[in-house]
Structure formats: structure tokens, C-alpha cells
Symmetry: C2
Subunit: 308 residues, 2 copies
């Protein structure tokens, strides 16, 4: 990635990744998200528009959080993964280079409902365009900070070099610890128990949302991951400077304002009426209290819509 | 750091840092090194020349490995630190911004001889231009990979943001481990014992060098750190493609070719006749064998000078 490159992202997407792109001067184009993953027609339309305006050669890849997406909880279906890769291939000649799919599978193992979905790696035979990013931290121990990647061979040297410049090698102790946990079966046993605990907390959060949130707020019960994505009526702002955010913070409740998860993209206004709620680190008691207070904030601060 | 910036470095310097600068498109200017640290007259001359050619505004900082330098083992004296900071201040107005000294103190605690030298932080009162980079890994456990920095306040936000984008926070487990080792006193006890072991290995390496290396090779017994810097006669190349390197590798002896430690700098030819020898990871047995074999290589492969 260098200044002026374009990366396609889901709309919304993982906001920390947006920060990384921004720090490198990389631009984004946001692709609509549907219940089963990217809107592939919008993907094709966007690539066509970029081609027409001469910007297609600047497009380097598409970033997708494919399992229990951060922030929406959406999982990309296998059919969508195949369709995404087909669309990308169609535009490679015009782009003048490979168009990669970066599949961020951070939450894959934190599954509580539904089947495990094959990764995009299963769609393609060699040579693949899929960069698969996995982690042992999220499902096993968030402080462990060891992940892995499966890369097309032509990218390996560059990625290894950048990683070496960033960290000069992952911490040996943590790698040893994970290698032993994986070999002994403790890893899998712990992931199973962690996923079960998250499932209970997700169910609790949804029950609290039903009981305490105004009826006009929409959300989908997650099938995995760490988040519930709550959609308020369009005119109710949730950003750092909004009344909702300030009132929530005053009651010691913190959420991620939805607008942080939307890339700067001149082709659409940025939605400002959503919130990412996390049940990951919170205790059941905190979840109960937090959603109750947030419900009160929405009823009291957000105005008449909430009481309608 | 952005493309086109200039960073001043010691000549030679830590080669991994050079790789990082290169990956960001940052250029270097190399400042002569003396027995007690940078040649401050050459530093001033270099800054003057950059000013004359209009490039001074591109200069952002000076990087110094101030204790038992990697690769030469040289320690910068407190007088030199004060002089370096004075010179940098003199050129700030012409540069149009602060000129920072990045003091990399990675080896400070691995001291076997001589007094502990104050850091550059001790020279300056607020506002300081010193960025002090320390680590717990090198002196305590190389796999721990936890370090720290002391920064001028105005840099904190940018540095925290870059670090967040790189690693999203240091591994919690390793920080906990180090915090406990520091609080209990185990850290200091272990550092003392590690430094003693390195001192023994350094003494062994120097004894072996005296016994097995040709008389024309020069080196200085280190007072700390992990390295001996061996200087061969100028015409004997030590790079990856040299006869010396290839013959050494054939006998399973690996050293860091000196030329890797020199920045690309159009104002001087790159020296190619030195080698960095490390006693850090090697066992005493390996040190004995390695230096013996390397001495044989130099005597046999490098030509008549070695036998003279």
C-alpha cells in the first residue's frame, strides 16, 4: 500500500483497519453490505465507475471481515465469496494487476449458531487471489496477540519484510504457549468454552435490548463474534458529540459510534445513527446494567421518536 | 517519517533500523563515528552542507545507538551527548522545525565494564529534543519483546497512533510478566546474571580472536552489549558474495557483513571489509569453534595479507 492507492471496504467495516489505511494515505471506496455479505452488483458498479474515471489501476484489494463482521455481525456466504472473486477477476486486466481479496477471519471460531462457512480459500484453485488473515488471540486469549496469514506466494516476501520492520518477529514466548495449547488440545477446549460464554452473553444482551430499547431501534441477534449492531432512526445521531453519546458516557456506558465504521467515501453521506455494542469484555452484570442505562438514555435524551 | 525525509545515522549503524527507514523511502546521511561517539564536527559540517543545498528542512532527526553500539560496541560519552544536542539546536531555525535525537539505549543494561553513562535525557531541561527508546527484552529475555519510550510531549499522540496501527497494543501477558519481574526484583537479579554471562562470553571471544585471527585484523574488547566489531584490511571484502563469507558459511559460521551496517550515502564509498561478530546467542563451545574456523578462513581464503 502506498499513498494514493485505493482499497475497497465493506460499508460499514472494521474501524481500526480504516485507521491503518488512512495513516498510509490510502483511499477507500465503500461497498454496500447485505445480509449475506457484500452487494456484488455494487462492487461491479464501483469498479466500473473507477475504470471510467481512470482510477482502476490504483485499486489494490478488497477487504472483507467475512465471519460475524465487526461491526455488523454479518457473515459472508460461500456463494458471495465466489461471486466477489469472479467480479475482481473480471477487472484485473483493466487494472493491470492482481486484485486481491483480504479475508479477515478474526471471529471465525467464535461461532454460536449456524454452520461453519468455508473461507474464500476454498473457492479458488491456484493461483489464488485470497489473502486469509487468521488469529489465535481473539478466540483463545485476547492478550496473546499471535495471528497467521495464508498468502499468495508472490506476496510473501513483501509481507514478511513489512512484518519484520514492524515487530522484528512475533514474541517467542507467546508462540510457544500457543503451539503447546494447540498440540495438547487445550486450545480447542478453551475456544469451545469461550464461544459458549459469548453465546450466553449475546443472548443476554439481546434479551436486554428487547426489554429496554425503544421499539424503533433495530438489530439482528448475532450468530457469533463479539458485537450487536444497533440501528436507530436515521435522524438520531450517535457520534461522540451527540446527546446520546454524551448522556451514555455520563452514565458510564461506552459504545462505538457507528460513524467511525464508515470509510470516507465521497459517493455517499456517512450514516450517523448506529452503534456497535460489545458483549465481549463485559460481565453479565455489566451487560444488564449497560443496556438498561442505554435504553433510558435513548428514551430520555433522544426525543419523542423513542417514546412513540 | 515520510518519503523524502532525511535521518542522520551513525556510520556504521544498526542495520535493521536502516531497513525500516528504507521501507519508508527515508534517506540517510551517515556521520563519522569516533571512540566516544559521533564526530560532532562532521555532524555540523553535514548539517551545513544540507542547509546550503536546501535540504535541511527534510532532516527530521539523528539516530544514535548510545550504549555498546550495534555493531561497533562504541558508547557515546555524556560530553558527546551534550555536544550533539547543541549542534542540533543550532540548526533548528534554519530547518524550520525541531531536530530530534533518537537515543536507542537497547544495550544499556548489558554492561560489563566501565561506569553507567547518563542518557541524553540528563543533558536537557524541558522542552527536550530527546526520544529515549529502551527495552526490557534485550537485557531480560529476548523473546519478551516489550520496550518503552520517553518522548517529548508533542510526539506522543503521533507515536501512540502509529504503534496502535502496528500492533493494537503490546501483548498483555508479556507486560504482566515484566511488571511482576520488575516489582519482585527478579528482573534486576536476572539482568545481573545475564550480563555476567555475556561478559564471560565476550572475554572468551576476544581471547579466541587473539589466538586465531591474523594480526592485521583489529577489534576493541567490548565493555557491554553483544558484539565484537572486527576490522580487516581495507582490500579484504566480507560481504555475502565475498570469498570470506562463502568459506565461513561452508564451515557453518555466520557473521553480519559490515557493509550491511552502512547507510547508502552518496558522500562516501561504503566500507566492505568489516564483520559483526555476536557472542549473544552462541554457547562458549560455539564461540571457540566459530572463531577458530573463522580464523582459518581468514588465513586460507583471504590471501597473503593474513599470513604476513
Amino acid at each position: 500500500m502506498t499513498r494514493g492507492d485505493i482499497v475497497l471496504v465493506e460499508d460499514p467495516t472494521y474501524f481500526v483497519f480504516l485507521g491503518i489505511l488512512q495513516s498510509h494515505g490510502v483511499q477507500c471506496r465503500a461497498i454496500h453490505l447485505q445480509e449475506d455479505g457484500l452487494d456484488t452488483e455494487h462492487l461491479a458498479d464501483t469498479l466500473r465507475a473507477l475504470h471510467r474515471s481512470g482510477q482502476l489501476p490504483r485499486v489494490k484489494m478488497l477487504y472483507v471481515v467475512s465471519y460475524y463482521q465487526n461491526p455488523t455481525g454479518i457473515t459472508t456466504s460461500p456463494q458471495k465469496k465466489a461471486a466477489i472473486l469472479r467480479v475482481l477477476r473480471q477487472f484485473e486486466k483493466a487494472a493491470g494487476h492482481q486484485l486481491y481479496l483480504l479475508e479477515d477471519a478474526a471471529y471465525r471460531e467464535l461461532r454460536f449458531a449456524g454452520p461453519d462457512v468455508p473461507s474464500a480459500l476454498a473457492v479458488e484453485s491456484d493461483p489464488s487471489r485470497v489473502i486469509y488473515a487468521g488469529t489465535f488471540s481473539k478466540p483463545f486469549a485476547t492478550g496473546a496477540r499471535v495471528g497467521f496469514g495464508l498468502l499468495p506466494a508472490e506476496l510473501l516476501e513483501a509481507v514478511a519484510r513489512v512484518k519484520g520492520n514492524h515487530d522484528f518477529g512475533s514474541a517467542n514466548l507467546l508462540q510457544q504457549l500457543l503451539a503447546r495449547a494447540l498440540a495438547s488440545g487445550r486450545y480447542q477446549a478453551h475456544v469451545t468454552s469461550v464461544a459458549k460464554r459469548y453465546a450466553q452473553k449475546a443472548a443476554l444482551m439481546c434479551a436486554m435490548l428487547r426489554a429496554h430499547f425503544p421499539a424503533a431501534v433495530q438489530w439482528t441477534p448475532p450468530q457469533g463474534g463479539l458485537y450487536v449492531w444497533a440501528r436507530l432512526p436515521q435522524r438520531v445521531a450517535t457520534g461522540f458529540k451527540s446527546n446520546v453519546f454524551k448522556a451514555a458516557l455520563k452514565r458510564q456506558v461506552l459504545y462505538v459510534p457507528g460513524e467511525l465504521c464508515y470509510a470516507d467515501d465521497p459517493t455517499r453521506p456517512k450514516p450517523r445513527h448506529e452503534m456497535r455494542l460489545s458483549f465481549g469484555g463485559a460481565t453479565p452484570k455489566d451487560i444488564r446494567l449497560g443496556i438498561q442505562r442505554l435504553g433510558q438514555v435513548l428514551s430520555q435524551v433522544a426525543g419523542r421518536w423513542a417514546r412513540a
